[in-house]
């Protein structure tokens, strides 16, 4: 079955196929279609939609529902995502699975409703207090908004962690064809730790508090080991990268601009390719290193360079200090999108053509 839908709606479809039972959310442009779809379709499948009074409430409702052993989600954009950070820290601290979709708009402050990737740091590095991370996926199409929402639930459940689907206003609003999954996923069993109001879960406790410093350190060590293990689930893709002189590194919607840029450069006789991290955390470091070694590197991004810095960091940690030092960037901010023309010009400059 294919549907021609807004990417935001594809998120809801993915969530329902993933077995998400509860949606908690507060409206915000350009993410509101996710709430609209959830309000309509969750009850039609006997599932729960709650319009929260604020994003602080949404995320804490998720804390309760996830603590009670159910798959749940919310969706928001920058300002709401900021409000949720404390709650996401609690989710991570209590090791609760939940999915947060951030349809990034331009900031800071009220900003505007047009696309940016400027929530990179909170979406990828853990934007709240404490030593935690999220599992973060960056879709680039309506199909991936559906598929990666499903993946986010799977990773959230597998790693007992909040997972972030990190999108942007452009792809949230666009319509594309989505092929729906063949089958719904079965519900994971969380009864060994969740507070489900049943005899077997009676003495289960959901908490993020360790008053004893030694115990808190042990717990932090456990979290860090978990985040290291998560690297096994890193995802990336390359396009025309094998023989490329210039590797364009971009994620999400920018990776599609990178794709067209690479094709345009190839048509002009320049060897360009694309490296696209699909998971931003865990970052596909080894695959980046393999694709970037000895090449010229340019990022395309819709932020101030938070992503480029992360690319440099990951290259440097892979021992590619020279490549890291020479990472170039073309970017736009404020809701403006990098044009293929501008990206091609920048690439030609880097290639000395």
């Amino acid at each position: 079955m294919t549907k021609f839908v807004k990417s935001n709606e594809a998120v809801v479809m993915g969530a329902l196929y993933a077995g998400c039972d509860l949606y908690f959310g507060y409206p915000i442009t350009p993410a509101s279609e996710i709430a609209h779809g959830a309000a309509k379709w969750f009850p039609m499948l006997g599932r729960t939609f709650v319009q929260a009074e604020c994003e602080t409430a949404s995320v804490n409702m998720m804390f309760g529902a996830a603590g009670a052993g159910k798959l749940c989600m919310t969706a928001t954009s920058g300002p709401g995502f900021s409000l949720m950070q404390e709650g996401i820290s609690y989710l991570a601290g209590a090791e609760l699975p939940a999915v947060i979709v951030d349809v990034n708009r331009a900031g800071p402050g009220l900003g505007n409703v047009y696309p940016e990737q400027s929530d990179y740091t909170p979406a990828v590095k853990g934007g709240g207090h404490g030593n935690y991370q999220t599992f973060t996926l960056a879709p680039a199409s309506a199909q991936e908004m559906c598929d990666f929402t499903i993946k986010a639930f799977q990773m959230a459940a597998k790693w007992r962690t909040p997972a972030v689907v990190f999108a942007d206003g452009l792809q949230g609003q666009m319509m594309e064809t989505v092929t729906l999954p063949d089958a719904e996923l079965s519900r994971p069993d969380f009864s060994d730790w969740a507070a489900q109001g049943e005899p077997k879960t009676r003495q289960n406790l959901i908490k993020s508090i360790f008053l004893d410093a030694a115990a808190q350190e042990v717990f932090n060590d456990h979290l860090q080991r978990k985040y290291e293990d998560m690297a096994a689930d890193a995802m990336a893709e390359t396009y025309l990268a094998a023989d490329a002189d210039l590797v364009i590194v971009a994620f999400g919607i920018a990776s599609r601009i990178a794709r067209t840029t690479a094709e345009t450069l190839r048509r002009k006789g320049m060897k360009a390719g694309v490296f696209r991290p699909i998971t931003l955390n865990p970052f596909p470091r080894e695959r980046l290193a393999a694709a970037a070694k000895g090449r010229k590197i340019m990022t395309i991004e819709l932020d101030a360079g938070q992503f480029a810095d992360d690319v440099r960091l990951n290259l440097a940690k892979s021992g590619l200090g020279a490549e890291a030092a020479n990472v170039m960037m073309i970017h736009r901010m404020g809701g403006q999108v990098v044009t293929v023309d501008d990206a091609v010009k920048a690439a030609k400059m880097i290639l000395g053509k």
Binding site: F4, M174, T177, A195
Partner: protein
């Protein structure tokens, strides 16, 4: 030493790694008494297996060491939001939030109030000791006028900090709660009344009746700077003078509550809750196509990419014209993308959308240089005409004065779409006229048949308009093809 079994409590409290029977509460603290009563009620009613406690941040934070039941330890102020999630996720459980007056009255007031307003099915036990206990005796919204705290060192001055917040009275303005009461634990008589009220709170949750709030006045000898007896006296005299005890509402027993708020005589014809259609599976729910029933796209590198821009005033059907072209492209098994203007731009009167159609997967979704530009008004024509690619086509409504010429190598068609639609007696069909123009000028690279099927599919929800628009499409196209 012989240990006495305490109903509903764990037999040992392994707080700070030690097995102890001593709680962390100070001597004479109201929490200790309430903790015992809550545990007793939960156990006596046989609800320990079913109960999920949502614990606060504050002096009540460690109840999970004491009450033998499942616990979720929430963020400061958010117990009512978390309890909302719990009771929605587990409707068969007994959900009890336990909150203090900083937690519920200040940082989390709106969460508590909105949960009460929604009639969430949980019980909220609210400990009012007139200050922040855990953080060191600061002013709470419930601090009495003139009461000395660490942040009102000269006594609470209402001129600067307002008056004590009466939570029960405020919540009593809401329709949904089924039980609202204020009790105290300042002496034996009050403790017995308090236990009866806690039992009532559990009963309401056991029977899934609705939202219940129980405010409990509790002494805090440490932060009052009093011995336990003096603190209890303060609670009984000064606090009760400000916060009178009583049952504000018990809908089942007294009928006060929702029933007390008059409803309009006749239900409104337009304000009605409709039954939600039910589907068993996602496949059943999403199995019906919304627009056209198109197969997945095929890769065909011989098909060049074509980018479209549609622009005009809101209400001229610009967005649906774009979707129509996109749906036709899907029927032709092309990769297709549609993107609208959105946000305040959309509400300011102008509307535009982009469509990309390609034989290979689409990269950049933005349309900076359209191959085809369709404009229904002057501002959008002037805004976009300069961007059109060499060899491209511009179709503009004939009402638009051409003050700006298209770039060299771009073909301009002026089509009286708005006038034709008016002449046909269907002014809303100007976009169908434009579709006719796209067909007449072979601007889409798509089969005429698919454009027509897509047009018909766009009226799926108004089937009476399908034939009308099909007819208009043919008549307009015939007119446009005349030399």
């Amino acid at each position: 030493m012989k240990t006495i079994e305490q109903k509903g409590m764990y037999q040992k409290f392994p707080r700070s790694g030690k097995d102890t029977r001593v709680t962390h509460y100070c001597a004479g603290c109201g929490h200790g008494i309430v903790n015992k009563l809550v545990a007793e009620c939960c156990a006596e009613m046989g609800l320990q297996d079913r109960t999920i406690f949502v614990d606060p941040v504050g002096c009540g934070v460690f109840t999970y060491y004491y009450w033998d039941a499942a616990h979720i330890s929430a963020a400061h102020g958010r117990a009512s939001a978390a309890a909302t999630g719990v009771c929605r996720a587990r409707p068969d459980a007994v959900t009890i939030a336990y909150q203090g007056d900083g937690d519920l009255g200040a940082i989390g007031f709106n969460n508590a109030f909105q949960a009460a307003s929604r009639g969430e099915k949980f019980g909220c036990i609210f400990i009012n000791n007139s200050l922040y206990g855990m953080t060191g005796g600061q002013m709470a919204p419930t601090t009495l006028e003139g009461e000395k705290t660490t942040t009102t060192p000269f006594g609470r001055d209402p001129a600067l900090t307002g008056h004590p917040l009466h939570v029960c009275e405020v919540f009593s303005q809401l329709q949904a709660p089924v039980y609202i009461a204020r009790v105290s634990v300042a002496d034996t008589k009050r403790i017995l009344q308090c236990k009866a009220a806690i039992k009532r709170l559990f009963e309401i949750q056991r029977d899934r009746k609705g939202y219940a709030l129980l405010e409990i006045l509790a002494p805090c000898p440490t932060n009052f700077g009093m011995n336990p007896l003096k603190a209890a006296e303060f609670c009984k005299n000064e606090m009760e003078a400000e916060f009178p005890l009583g049952v504000f509402r018990d809908t089942e027993k007294t009928g006060v509550g929702e029933a007390a708020i008059p409803k309009p005589q006749a239900p409104s014809a337009i304000l009605a809750v409709k039954p939600v259609p039910q589907f068993a599976t996602c496949a059943e729910l999403f199995g019906v196509p919304d627009g056209v029933d198109a197969p997945p796209a095929e890769n065909d590198p011989s098909v060049p990419e074509r980018r479209f821009k549609f622009a005009g005033y809101g209400g001229q059907g610009i967005l649906s014209l774009g979707i129509c072209v996109a749906e036709a492209a899907r029927l032709q098994r092309r990769h297709t993308l549609w993107f609208p203007s959105y946000g305040p731009e959309q509400r300011g009167g102008s509307a535009s959308c982009s469509v990309v159609v390609s034989g290979t997967p689409i990269g950049s979704p933005t349309v900076e240089h359209p191959d085809v530009l369709v404009c229904m008004n002057q501002p959008s024509y002037e805004r976009f005409v300069g961007d059109v690619k060499k060899g491209g086509i511009v179709i503009v409504d004939a009402s638009v004065p051409i003050m700006k010429q298209p770039p060299e190598g771009v073909k301009l068609h002026q089509v009286p779409a708005i006038k034709m639609a008016e002449d046909f007696g269907v002014p809303k069909a100007a976009n169908t006229m434009m579709l006719a123009a796209l067909r007449a000028f072979k601007a889409t690279g798509l089969d005429d048949e698919h454009l027509e099927t897509a047009l018909c599919a766009s009226f799926k929800k108004k089937p009476q308009l399908i034939e009308k628009n099909r007819d208009l499409l043919h008549r307009a196209e015939a007119a446009l093809k005349q030399p």
